[in-house]
Each structure stands twice: as C-alpha cells, then as structure tokens.
C-alpha cells in the first residue's frame, strides 16, 4: 500500500477544520441574529410579567395590567434578552398620583436595585415639570432636554409610550389616550448602549402599565418618530445647577397643605403620633389625626410613623402606594399592641420612598413590640397552603417560634418557586390581630409582592429522602468497590496463570526441545551401535559432542528463561536469524542444509517481538527435526516497516495440518504470535514439506513513540472512514 503524501492529508485536515469553523461562525451569526430581533406581545401569566425580574418596588398584576404599588425611587421590572438591539417598545401607562416619573427602559443591562442602577435608556413622563424625558442611565442619570407634554401629565390618565431604538438613535412619542395630544423626543448618543433588555420603571410613584409589546425596528421606524421631534438632542443634563435651573420647570411647591387641601375635619384636630394612641382611654372611640408612611396598601392600610404602626380600615382614601406619606383622620380605640383607626379620611400628603424594614427576630415580633410595623425577618419555610381563595399562606419557624406570612389577593401560582425547608428572608407588616393569625401562630407577616420574599439558603441536603439515597449510594459504592476488588483478584490470578503458561511454553520450547535433541543424538548413536556397522569412534564422539552442546544449550535456555522473568536478552533482536540457524545446526548437525536470508531494510525490533519470533522459529525447527526428517531448512526474516515476517521452511515429510488437531507445540506458537499481535500461518502437506510463517507489526520501542503511533493510526483510520463516507 502506498503511503499518502503529507500535503494532501494536511490539506484535507485543514479543509475539515475550515468547514467546522465556517459552520461555527454561521451558527453563531444565525443565533445572534435570531436573538437580537425581538417580536413579542407580553402576556401576564401567573400574576406576573413573563420572565421578568424586579429590582425594587412592589410589583403585581391587576386585571390586564402590571402594577407597581410602591413609591420606590427607581423601581424596575426588567424582561427580555440582553442581545436585543434594534426594536420598538410600546406600552400604555397610568400614574397613581400627581408626583413622580413613570416610563419604560430599553437596552438595559447590569441591573441592580437602586435609583439609576442599570445601564440603558429610560423614556418616561415626569409629573413635576410635565415633560417627556429621555436619558441614559449608567449608574447615574443624564438626560436630554425634556419636551413638554401637551396638556400636562396627570394621574388617572392613560398615556401611550412608543420608543424606537435603532443603532445609536432613539426616538419616542407619548400620547394622551384621552385627548390624543402627543409629544415627541429624539436623541443620538455616541457611543451608545447598543443592546439590552426592556423594562418598566417608576420613580416616587406607583402606577399601571399594559399592552406591552416589542417588535423589530428599522431606520424608517426611527425616522417616522424623530421627524416629529423639534430637534435631535443628546444626553447632557444635569451639568451645573444653573444649567438645570434654566431648563427645568419646578412644580410650585412640595408643601402638603398647599398641594392637596384636605377636608376641614382633617386639620381641625391636633396631630398625634401612633405612640400617643395607646395612651387614649379604652372602650371609647376617640377622633384622631396622625401622619405617617403607608407600609401596606390594599382596601385597608397600614401606616407607620417613627413611634409605631396603625391599621386603618373603612376610610375614604385616594389610590395609595407603599411609601406615600398620608394624614389619617378617624376614630380609634387602643388595641392590645397597636391601634386601629376606623372610618374617616386618608389624605395623601407626599409621594415618598418606602420605609426600610426593621430587622427583628420571630421572638421579638411575637412580643407585640412591632405590631403593625414594617419588619424583616428570616425563617425556615415549613409549608405552603391556600387558606381561602386568593390568600396564600407560607408557614415558617425560627428558633422554635412558628409564624406565617400571608400573600393576599394574589392568584395561586403567583408565588415564586419556593422549596420547603429553605431559609427565606421576608419583609412585610407584622400583625398580631387574631383575625389575621387565626390563633394558629402568634403573629403573621403581610406580604406585598413577590419581592418581599428572598431565598437565603436552599433546603439542607440531609432530608430523610436524601439520607436514604445517600445510604443506598454508599451501599452501591461498597458493592462496586468489592466488585472491583474481586476483578483485580481475578486479573491477578489470570496474570499468574498466563505467566505459568508462558513459562511452560518456554520450558517446552527450550529445554524440552533440547532434551528432544539430546534424545535424538543418543538414539542415533544407539541405532548405529545396534546395526553393528562399527561406526567410527570419531563419529560417536561428534554425536556426543552435539548432545553435549544441546545440554549446554538447555542450560543457557534455562538461564535465559530465568533472565526473561526480569530482563530481556539484548542481543536477541539483533541476531535472530543467526540464532535460529545455530539452533538448527545444533539439533541436526550436518544432516541438513540450513539457509538463512534477510530481506528488506532491517530495523530494530522491540524485545517482546524478537523473543516471540525466536521461540516460534525454534519450535518450528524443532518440530521439523523431530517429525519431518528434512534435508534442507530455509530461515528467512523479511522486513517491511512496520511489518516483520519470519519464515521457517523445510523439505521434510510434511503432514496434514488442521487447527483442530494442532499439538501443544503449534498451540504454543499460535499463542506467542497472538501475544505480539501477530499472525501464524502453517502450510504443509504429506511429502511436500512444511512452511511456518509468522507476521507481526513491530511496535515502536519507546512509550512516547508508541502513544504517538497509536494516535496517528486511529486518526488515519478515521480519515480513511471519512474519505470512504
């Protein structure tokens, strides 16, 4: 077989590599293109926006809209892919109150909780100066010149925001869906945030978003919006105070009484603090007014000031959010741990920032000291159940103190994935009212949204199921180790047996054959004496000398076999043919004509192969001498790298050879050939002599060369297979 030249093979491999590379590049390109073009109308599944992640705020779903029920500054709800590049985002939004900002985020990455803690663009409506704003946030805020919104920005009105981002150009429009008045803004920025997620964001107000959709956009979409804008600006404010003061239209006042005059009864009573309420006489409703921050807002409220919290029920109130600062006027009776204000009016004073929670232990919470206050505590989740429609109850224990957390007015499935026995940190209003706790636990925590639940640690692995699984695994491991031990023992026994067999073959091939030769010589002397043909003493002496040589040879063979147990004979591989010829001469003397030949370019054989060839050759010669009475013997060693072939051919009597009837000697030769990966062939017929040949591949002589050769061989086979395919 002709060896392929290096160049075509190299070209072939390079072509394969180029093909693989091309496929990879094409796949990456296709994948990135496929992921960079969003096209989606968002569904509100399980009470939340698909695939969204909240950063601050109190997010939930009301009917067909996403709601943030919090005045958190910079509350964000982000969804989509970081790879989205050029797209148009559409969303309708409605403010809860007359303060704050609401809008959407495009091309957002690196989001964290914080006012401007994301990298992307925010486009929204700002109530304080009634403008449409567009700016860049990069853990800091910088905006383009805001555009006045015709008709102003008001609570309770739906506005439609359309934002198109193409390349480093972003344009947006805002339309009052009641009056259809519209404002446009356009911005270019170099360099820009080129890709990112979408999101909803509010600052210091709560509100609703609905009809949220995103689709791919082209330059024409951008131009369609930007053509309405007065100019294409770029993010530049705030610079210095004077610059900002010139462009920003501040609202007239932040004063509560001036902004939102309440009913006369609200200001006719002296303001109290929540701590004062507990000092009022019991069993008598007293009119009170107090101010505080909303910590929980549904149909009823929890309001907190510096001294404590209070439950407000049955009051007339505007739409309120967590963080709103309010003035509550109503009738109260002190409770055990906190007071309840019934009836009356709640007046919105300021849009604020939600109060941070007080970290408490379950024991402290159970003491009543934090009743009606916004707290944070940790506990191990022991169970989740539905107590009544739309009320989900999480059961906890901390330090032996059980408590529960209620998630009210949320459909089942709206809870995040929670595992029993995990450690959770929850935030909410602490309530000891027995109507809420149902006397099952000392206190309960009223949760506002999913964001009030944070997993601190997953369940421990040492659950009963896990322990059983571990036990089973350990048993399995022990059985496996036992199995491996037995296998090793079997391998050892097998190795010993094989070694014994090898020794048996060695003895047979060496000493036994020599003894046979000795016997052959003695038999010759005996035959001569019996025939009374008066052989010459000299001839007898020669035959005895041969017998002596054979005995000496046996001694050498025995020494060599012993030596082979540890070290290989160094000369064996170099003088193989000569050794075999010498063997033949020693056995047969001058009776046969022995010819030797070496064909091809000799190369160094490894020791194991040389040893095997020597013994196979010796066995073949011995068999010929013992059974075939040949007159001529040819020993040929043929080199054809990496193959080597030994041929021992005689012109003796021959025999009918078959594998089934092969004797111990032939079997030994076959085993030796197999042990070096060779192939033994015997050709013989009665009267036509015998030809024994063994062909084997000469393995490289060093380990490194052997490993490299094996790898090359496998690779060659693979290449051959590929070419055939």
């Amino acid at each position: 077989m002709s060896r392929p030249t290096v160049l075509p093979r190299t070209v072939f491999y390079l072509a394969i590599a180029a093909l693989v590379l091309l496929c990879g590049v094409f796949g990456w390109f296709y994948w990135s293109r496929a992921n960079s073009s969003p096209n989606h109308i968002y569904q509100l599944r399980d009470g939340k926006l698909e695939g969204s992640q909240a950063y601050g705020g109190t997010w939930g779903v009301v009917d067909d809209a996403v709601r943030n029920n919090s005045d958190e500054r910079g509350a964000k709800l982000v969804t989509g892919s970081e790879k989205w590049k050029d797209y148009t985002l559409t969303a309708d939004l409605k403010f809860d109150g007359e303060h704050g900002d609401m809008g959407v985020i495009v091309r957002s990455t690196d989001e964290e909780e914080g006012v401007d803690a994301y990298n992307g663009y925010y486009i929204g409506l700002r109530t304080t100066d009634a403008t449409l704003i567009l700016g860049r946030s990069d853990y800091g805020w910088i905006e383009a010149r805001p555009v006045p919104m015709p008709g102003g920005v008001h609570a309770g009105v739906w506005y439609r925001l359309v934002v198109t981002a193409v390349g480093c150009r972003i344009a947006a429009s805002s339309q009052n869906l009641s009056t259809m008045q519209t404002a446009w803004i356009a911005v270019e920025e170099q360099p820009c945030a080129a890709a990112g997620r979408i999101g909803l964001r509010s600052l210091a107000t709560g509100g609703l978003w609905k009809n949220i959709g995103v689709k791919p956009a082209a330059l024409s979409d951008y131009l369609a919006l930007s053509s309405h804008a007065a100019a294409v600006g770029h993010p530049e404010f705030p610079k210095r105070e004077a610059d900002y003061n010139r462009i920003f239209r501040f609202s007239p006042s932040y004063g509560a009484a001036v902004q939102l005059p309440g009913p006369a009864e609200a200001s006719s009573r002296p303001l109290l603090h929540t701590g004062d309420l507990q000092d009022l006489p019991r069993h008598q409703d007293r009119p009170v007014s107090l101010r505080g921050v909303v910590t929980y807002a549904t149909r009823d409220l929890y309001v907190q000031d510096a001294e404590g919290g209070v439950f407000v029920t049955g009051a007339r109130m505007p739409l309120l959010n967590v963080g709103d600062e309010v003035e509550v006027t109503g009738y109260t009776q002190p409770g055990l741990y906190s007071s309840t204000i019934r009836g009356g009016i709640v007046k919105l004073l300021w849009g604020g920032t939600p109060t941070p929670p007080i970290a408490v232990t379950a024991l402290q919470a159970a003491s009543g000291a934090y009743d009606a206050r916004f707290v944070e505590l940790e506990g191990r989740l022991t169970g989740i159940r539905q107590s009544e429609p739309n009320v989900q109850v999480l059961q906890f224990v901390q330090g032996g103190q059980p408590f529960s957390a209620l998630y009210v007015n949320q459909p089942s499935g709206s809870l995040p994935q929670l595992e029993v026995n995990s450690i959770l940190r929850i935030r909410g209003v602490c309530v000891l009212d027995r109507k809420v706790t149902r006397e099952i636990t000392p206190f309960a925590i009223l949760l506002r949204s999913n964001d009030d639940i944070e997993t601190i640690a997953p369940p421990p692995w040492w659950t009963p199921v896990h322990i059983v699984m571990l036990f089973i695994a350990l048993i399995g491991l022990a059985l496996l180790i036992q199995l491996i031990y037995f296998r090793i023992q079997a391998w050892q026994a097998n190795a010993i047996t094989q070694e014994r067999e090898r020794l048996a073959h060695d003895i047979h091939d060496t000493m036994a054959q020599s003894f046979a030769g000795v016997g052959y010589q003695i038999q010759g002397i005996r035959s001569g004496v019996q025939r009374k043909d008066h052989p010459e003493f000299r001839h007898i002496a020669d035959q005895l000398d041969v017998a002596y040589q054979l005995v000496r040879k046996s001694h050498e063979e025995a020494s060599r076999t012993i030596a082979m147990l540890n070290v290989s004979a160094p000369d064996m591989q170099n003088e193989l043919v000569e050794s075999l010829a010498s063997t033949a001469r020693k056995i047969a003397g001058d009776h046969i004509d022995t010819e030797t030949a070496i064909e091809g370019t000799p190369f160094r054989l490894n020791l194991r192969l040389a040893n095997a060839l020597l013994h196979i050759g010796q066995e073949a010669i011995t068999n010929a001498m013992s059974h075939a009475n040949p007159t001529a013997l040819a020993i040929t060693l043929r080199y054809h790298e990496p193959n080597v072939e030994l041929i021992v051919e005689d012109n003796g009597g021959g025999f009918n050879y078959s594998r089934e009837t092969a004797g111990f000697g032939i079997m030994g030769m076959q085993k030796r050939a197999q042990s070096v990966g060779g192939q033994l062939q015997i050709a013989s017929a009665p009267g036509k002599g015998t030809r024994v040949s063994v062909t084997a591949i000469s393995r490289p002589t060093t380990l490194r060369a052997r490993v490299a050769a094996t790898a090359a061989e496998r690779f060659h086979i693979l290449a051959k297979w590929l070419r055939a395919a």
Binding site: G114, G140, F250, Y254, A256, D305, A306
Partner: protein
C-alpha cells in the same frame, strides 16, 4: 513527519494563545473599579460627589461603581451595597455613611480585605488609620456660617429653631452644637428650640416644623440640618403662611431647595462641597494604594449660598453634577 509535527505544533500554539486571550481578556480589559457609595442616590448633593470622584478617577484610568440607597436612612441597604462591593473585590471604597455606628462593621470588613477606604461627608464612629481616610465636611464651620447668617435676622428675645438633628449622624450633632455655641455668643438671650428626629418622613418633618412655628410666635429663624428637613420646613412655612416672617437657613444642597432659594422661599443654604470631597477621596485612595503618606482626616469647608452668589463660578463649581467624564 516533520511538516505534520510543525503544523500540529503551530495549531496547538494558536489554540493556547486563543484560550489565554479568552480567559484573561476580562482581567486585562477591566480597569480598577472604585465603589463610591453615597448616603442616597436620590439627592443631587451626592451627584456632585459622583462628579468629583469621576473626574479624579479619570486621571488614573479607574472606573467608578456608583450606587446607594434610595433614601438616606436606609442603612441596611447601604450595608448590603458595601458588602456586595467587597465581594466584587473593588480596588477601593468611598462611603458616605447613613449611620455612624451601623456601617462600622461593613467598613471593617472592607479593611480586613485590604480594600482602602475613604469616608466622605459625615464621619464614622471609628478612628481613621493607614487604610482609612476621612474626607468630611467642616460641620463646625457649617454651624458657625449658619449662626452668622441667622444673626442678621435676630435680636435678643427672639427664637431660633434647629430642626432635623439626627443622632445617627455625627455631622448633624456637630452642626447643631456649633450653631448653638455661635448664636448664643453672638446674641445673648436668644431662645433655641431643638428637635431631634431619626426619621426622614417628610410628613413627620413638616409636622414638627409646623408645631414649632405654631408654638412660638417669636420664632424668626429655622436652621434645618438636612435636605429632607429643609424641604419640610419650607412646606411648613408655606402652610403656615410664615414666608417672610421666618428665615429658613438650610443645610445641604438639592435642586429643588436651590430653586426655592432662587425664588426667595429659602434665605440661604450652606452647601457641603461634595464635589471636592469626591475628588479628594479618589486622590486619597490613590495615595493609599501607592503606599504614600495620606492625611487621615481631610476637612472640606462648606459654602454659604445665597441669592447673591448662587450664579458665581465658585458656587456653581460646588454644584457641578456632571458625573459623565468626557473621554
């Protein structure tokens, strides 16, 4: 054989270089990050610190990580942000603490991780050291400036109110004490009403201010110690129709307060030079990282802002909020 070996070797070499580039590109490409954590990111006073820090960091090729709580009393969130910054192995920390005690352990954790730290604004309740520098406002000067300004509206027998004293912030106490000392020396017989509050609730602060205004008809000056209290005091002046009768001297700058100052609702404002603090904090960090001698306590003088000087170059420099450094 040699050709194949050479090609294989070259391919392996290229692969190794590619892997090294991929693995270490992030480290090579990313500069030192300095975490700058203000009291809150919701007030423009700290945007000036952001601007100062960003401009100073530009010279060293450092990147600023800027984030803080959304309100100035949310110290649990501030602790969390500092811990996250430590976990990210930032090159340095600049912190304006929301609480003079609670933040000590977080700062100590940063120092234990060999992260050089600078405290900006209000001092922390521990002593500065080799790796901890204070760049703080001269609160005594703030109190004295306010007293000097207040004295022009007061005579013996009049009352002055100090609102918004927060025991959680040492700067608040220092300002109030300095103001009291100075005003009592300047106008003997002056009556001082002092109200403490640990809450940043605007409604409570406004309620407190209204109470003080209603309770003392001789009140002529309100000295409010922080942004939130100043807003609330301004609201109370409006709601009690006391503008023009009572002078409001505010501490710490914010855009709406400065707008009210321009429109006359607020008499004057004593600003912290947070721009310089941010700038000096980065310089101090650089010295710490370079192993150079660093002053342990750098005191930055405040600036009195009135309608007369608000548009001056020096005052507008203090009110620079442009954190975006031009490359």
């Amino acid at each position: 054989m040699r050709v194949r070996t050479a090609i294989g070797g070259a391919a392996l070499g290229l692969l190794a270089v590619f892997l090294i580039v991929v693995l270490f590109a992030r480290q090579i490409a990313h500069p030192t990050v300095i975490a700058v954590v203000p009291e809150t990111t919701a007030q423009e006073i700290w945007e000036s610190e952001h601007a100062g820090a960003a401009h100073a960091a530009q010279a060293y090729g450092w990147k600023i990580y800027w984030n803080g709580p959304s309100r100035e009393d949310d110290f649990p969130r501030q602790v969390q942000i500092v811990q996250q910054a430590i976990a990210r192995k930032v090159g340095g920390l600049v912190l304006s603490p929301d609480h003079d005690v609670v933040l000590i352990s977080a700062v100590q954790a940063a120092l234990d991780k060999k992260i050089p730290t600078v405290i900006v604004g209000s001092p922390l309740g521990i002593s500065p050291g080799s790796n901890l520098t204070f760049v703080v406002n001269d609160d005594i000067a703030t109190g004295r400036l306010a007293a000097e300004r207040a004295a022009s509206f007061l005579k013996s027998g009049d009352s002055v109110a100090i609102l918004g004293m927060n025991p959680n912030l040492l700067s608040s106490i220092e300002r109030a004490n300095a103001f009291e000392d100075a005003i009592e020396k300047r106008i003997p017989g002056i009556r001082i009403e002092e109200r403490r509050s640990t809450s940043v609730s605007s409604s409570e602060a406004e309620e407190t201010a209204e109470d003080v205004i209603h309770a003392d008809p001789r009140l002529r000056v309100i000295f409010s110690l922080n942004v939130n209290q100043s807003r609330a005091a301004y609201g109370a002046l409006l709601s009690t129709k006391s503008e023009g009768k009572i002078a409001l001297i505010a501490c710490d700058q914010d855009l709406d307060l400065l707008h009210h100052l321009r429109s006359g609702g607020i008499d004057s404002l004593i600003a912290q030079n947070t721009y310089v603090m941010g700038y000096d904090a980065i310089q101090a960090l650089h010295k710490q990282l370079a192993g150079e001698h660093t002053e342990r306590r750098i005191v930055v003088p405040p600036v009195l802002i009135t309608r007369d000087n608000i548009d001056s170059q020096s005052v507008q420099q203090v009110l620079d909020m442009n954190w975006r450094v031009q490359e």
